[in-house]
């Protein structure tokens, strides 16, 4: 194929096929060939002939998709191509548009008319082209303008077109919520369709919609239930199950009704995908339904023992969903989990690891931590494992929480630190930093601090990023201080009680520090760090200089010690001081800290304070979700009060409590008075909370100094890697109430619109469709009869929907919980 600029070539345009062939031929000079082609395309695309333009556009789309060439400059040309009457050109044009247009493309609005024309075309394929384009790039204005066309198509007789129209509805609703008024009815009608393609499209759309905003679609539960029971199509069933998973979370009575059909499906189906979805639904949303839960766990067991690695992975994944609430399921499958840890497949291993962390309790903690350490060691062989950070955190977590495991931790850390090969592996770095920290912190457990210090200073550590290097240096410092302390206590005839206490827990530590070993330690550290004192990174430099300064300060004194026998030299007190400094920083090390700092009453575990920063982020979440009023602590009590609460809660591991502690009730009342406007009516809230039996098992919040040992779960969870303390977010009630779950500012108009649309429709449906009666018991409660009369009146009148919408807007949120209740009675 000639690539020269012959006359013939310039007259005839290269087609896409030629382009591809050309690229394949130019293996070496590919990028230059591509840029040459792009230049060609630029000139071709400006020609007026539509077919030339379209081929140029096609080539450009190809290059953009597969070779990363930017094609946003051709936006206008794409619009031109789309206006061609030829189907082929249209196709190319729409493809290019769908691929490259975004909300920011300036010429986006120019295609509105073209889209409209094509949507109204009689050729169903043209319609489908337009629909597909709209579904991918639909912006607010486009959606608004084309809503009526979409509406027409939703009722089209051609199934081919209808199912695509249904698909596009999702995008339209997302961008232009008012479209709901027009389209929702048709959409819901399609739920009754007998064509399985249409049905699967519709439930697919509803699944997406429900994921974003479950509450608004609750009234459609009866239809979904029908589909759940009747349908035999796996795709449809999977989607419906997902919908119910979301709905059942907010409406537990639904869970009861749905549990039986789901169990039926679980027993009957052959399709593993459906089975897994059933299991997942049961585990995530129906976990109080005893029989369903047992059946699901039994099926998980089948997954776990299957040879297919996919099923094994999914089984473990399912277990991890259920682990927080029903640990017995995980414990039953104990052996499978441990076996999975040594599986070849990385995913399987990771899932098993998570489960293992969940399974930890006092008995198996040492065994589990040993497994964890081995795993960390294995990590070195996995080149792309991205969980290094997590493993590192787990290691530190275990070390700070569980005293017994520190010995093991230090042992493993030592082996990790010594290995020079690991330093080159970037993914190991978080683990190495954890190992370094642990070695420094718990150096008293180590038999060979000198070796560790040596490992921390090895030349290859220059491969580490500066932050981790800093940790290494600091740990070296800690080791030095420890060794010096040991040296000095070995010198002193009467060992002060301080040292004894600190070393009693590390009984295996050997404290024979001679002058020779100390001085060689110091020399080595000095040597290793001297080169760093000029390094560019400030953190590393500072730390290195700190250590060097310290060494400089004491080294000549050390030499003196050999001769003199003073008990209280300046140096030794300096050493004591340094050691205490280290003890203070990270609480749970030695008991010297205990004596130094007066503890406020009720403060149990010190490390909570240090981890405050880390877990503060987690705190913010529970407070937003539980909508509780525990944020009413006055600013004056901030620190001590909150710390106390923190530590108690951490011990209790209360996962979510939505009722305030009794002693803050007065503060709560005060807060209410101040911010009454923002509070929802409390009675309804409490009722609603109580009806969600499963969500608030730990409703009772014990008073501050009582540690109730009765609830099994909190005690168990104490050793879990991820604590879930409920927060004490101080006096930010406004923030809390503004951010409601499941409703971003974008979705609110949409959900409101959907709710009103469905409320109006729903009431009518109840009258018309008798087959709902087996699901909806009769009886419209008197409570809401007033509201319902209004909506019943307005049911048939579309024109008045605008008026009713404004009014019902205000009432919608308040009356909402009551309305939905009715449907399921």
């Amino acid at each position: 194929m000639a690539s020269s600029n012959s006359l013939m070539d310039s007259l005839f345009q290269r087609s896409l096929e030629d382009l591809i062939k050309g690229i394949r031929l130019h293996l070496l000079g590919e990028s230059s060939f591509i840029s040459k082609s792009v230049d060609e395309i630029r000139s071709e695309i400006k020609l007026t002939d539509l077919s030339t333009k379209s081929i140029a556009l096609q080539k450009l789309s190809y290059l953009a998709a597969l070779h990363g060439v930017d094609m946003s400059w051709a936006a206008f040309h794409a619009v031109e191509v789309v206006s061609s009457s030829r189907f082929g050109d249209k196709r190319i044009g729409y493809h290019a548009i769908a691929q490259s247009f975004s909300d920011q493309t300036p010429v986006l609005l120019l295609i509105t008319n073209q889209l409209r024309k094509d949507l109204n075309s009689s050729n169903e394929y043209e319609v489908s082209l337009a629909l597909e384009c709209l579904s991918r790039i639909g912006a607010d204005d486009l959606a608004r303008d084309l809503t009526s066309e979409v509406f027409t198509l939703l009722g089209s007789s051609k199934a081919f077109v209808r199912k695509k129209a249904i698909g596009v509805v999702l995008r339209v609703f997302d961008k232009y919520p008012d479209a709901v008024k027009v389209c929702l009815k048709r959409l819901v009608e399609n739920l009754d369709s007998s064509d399985p393609h249409i049905l699967s499209a519709v439930v697919g759309v509803f699944c997406e919609l429900t994921t974003k905003d479950p509450r608004s679609y609750l009234p459609l539960a009866p239809e979904f239930y029908k589909i759940l029971v009747d349908s035999r199509n796996n795709w449809v069933l999977i989607k419906v199950l997902k919908i119910f998973a979301k709905l059942a979370l907010i409406e537990p009575r639904l869970a009861k009704k749905v549990a039986d059909p789901i169990c039926e499906h679980m027993r009957r189906t052959v399709g593993k995908s459906l089975l897994f979805e059933c299991i997942r639904t049961v585990l995530s949303s129906l976990s109080d339904q005893e029989s369903a839960l047992k059946l699901a766990v039994a099926k998980i067991r089948d997954f776990l023992v299957d040879d297919d690695p996919n099923l094994k992975y999914l089984g473990l994944h399912a277990l991890s969903i259920v682990a927080p609430k029903h640990l017995w399921a995980v414990l039953e499958n104990n052996e499978a989990v441990v076996k999975a840890l040594s599986d070849e497949d990385l995913n399987v291993k990771l899932e098993a690891l998570h489960l293992l962390m969940a399974m930890v309790n006092e008995e198996n903690v040492s065994e589990i931590s040993r497994i964890l350490m081995n795993y960390a060691r294995e990590m070195a062989r996995i080149p792309h494992c991205q969980r290094g950070q997590e493993i590192g955190h787990q290691m530190i977590d275990i070390g700070t929480r569980i005293k017994d495991v520190r010995l093991e931790l230090v042992r493993v850390s030592r082996s990790l630190l010594i290995d020079p090969a690991l330093l080159g592996n970037q993914f190991m770095h978080p683990i190495l930093s954890a190992a370094a920290w642990a070695s420094g912190e718990y150096v008293e457990f180590s038999k060979t601090p000198y070796e560790i210090a040596e490992a921390l200073l090895q030349p290859r550590t220059s491969l580490l990023p500066p932050s981790i290097r800093a940790i290494y240096i600091h740990s070296t410092f800690k080791i030095l201080v420890f060794s010096l302390r040991g040296y000095f206590t070995a010198q002193e005839p009467i060992s002060p009680p301080l040292v004894q206490e600190s070393t009693s827990s590390g009984s295996s530590a050997v404290n024979c520090f001679t002058y020779k070993s100390i001085s060689s330690l110091m020399n080595m550290i000095e040597l290793g760090l001297r080169s760093l004192s000029g390094t560019l990174d400030v953190e590393v430099q500072e730390r290195a200089k700190n250590v060097l300064g310290f060494i400089g300060m004491i080294e000549h004194e050390i030499a003196e010690k050999v001769t003199g026998q003073d008990n209280e030299t300046a140096v030794s007190s300096a050493i004591v001081f340094m050691e205490d400094v280290f003890s203070d920083e990270l609480g749970p090390v030695s008991s010297t800290a205990q004596e130094k700092v007066p503890l406020p009453d009720g403060l149990e575990i010190k490390e909570n304070l240090e981890d405050l920063q880390e877990i503060c982020g987690e705190f913010l979440k529970p407070i937003f979700e539980s909508n509780s009023n525990t944020n009413s602590f006055s600013a004056s009590d901030k620190i001590s009060f909150s710390v106390t609460k923190l530590s108690i809660r951490d011990q209790q591991e209360a996962s979510s409590s939505s009722s305030p502690p009794p002693e803050s009730a007065s503060l709560l009342a005060e807060h209410r008075k101040r911010h009454d406007l923002y509070y929802l009516s409390s009675q309804k809230k409490d009722e609603h909370n109580d009806s969600n039996g499963n969500n608030n098992t730990l409703n009772e919040y014990p008073p501050a100094n009582e540690i109730s040992g009765d609830s099994f779960n909190p005690k168990k969870k104490m050793n879990q890697s991820k604590p879930r303390p409920v927060v004490v977010k101080l006096d930010e009630g406004d923030d809390d109430l503004k951010t409601k779950p499941n409703a971003s500012s974008n979705d609110e108009p949409l959900s409101r619109a959907i709710q009103t649309a469905l409320m109006g429709k729903g009431m009518g449906k109840e009258r018309e469709k008798d087959n709902h009666e087996k699901i909806l018991d009769s009886g419209i409660k008197e409570q809401s009869s007033g509201k319902e009369k209004k909506t019943k009146k307005k049911n048939g009148e579309k024109s008045s929907k605008h008026r009713s919408r404004r009014r019902s807007d205000k009432e919608a949120s308040a009356a909402k919980p009551v309305e939905i209740v009715d449907f399921l009675l």
Partner: protein
Amino acid sequence: MIKAVMMMNTQGKPRLAKFYDYMPVEKQQELIRGVFSVLSSRPENVSNFLEIDSLFGVDSRLVYKHYATLYFVLVFDGSENELAMLDLIQVLVETLDKCFSNVCELDIVFNYSKMHAVLDEIVFGGQVLETSSAEVMKAVEEISKLEAASNSISLVPKSVSGWRGR
């Protein structure tokens, strides 16, 4: 919702890439490369799933299948079932097979627009639209006929290969 569909060969060259969330071309290429680097390190007999939160954001999962020299990759979020997605890849490959009879990588390389036609019938705007390969085939054939009909209006061949003679 399906976030992306990708096909790449064992050297990492993308053969098809379709993203259902808009992102600029550089980002697309970056993602393709990222996915390939993770895929290439997977041993043979492991599960077909991957967590790729770091690449595609939270709650995204990846399913891939290795056929001869090609990786077929589907990226999706929590509203799709993993095993069903695996089935979907199967459907896609079967349809391609019917379309090209014993499809191989070269067919995919040279039939860019037909590939997209097939894919567009199966996945529509991120939603799974059609799971029966027969239906998809029907639609794709219709589209090809329409295209051929519209293109045959021009009598003078407009491309180099046309000029060189069919």
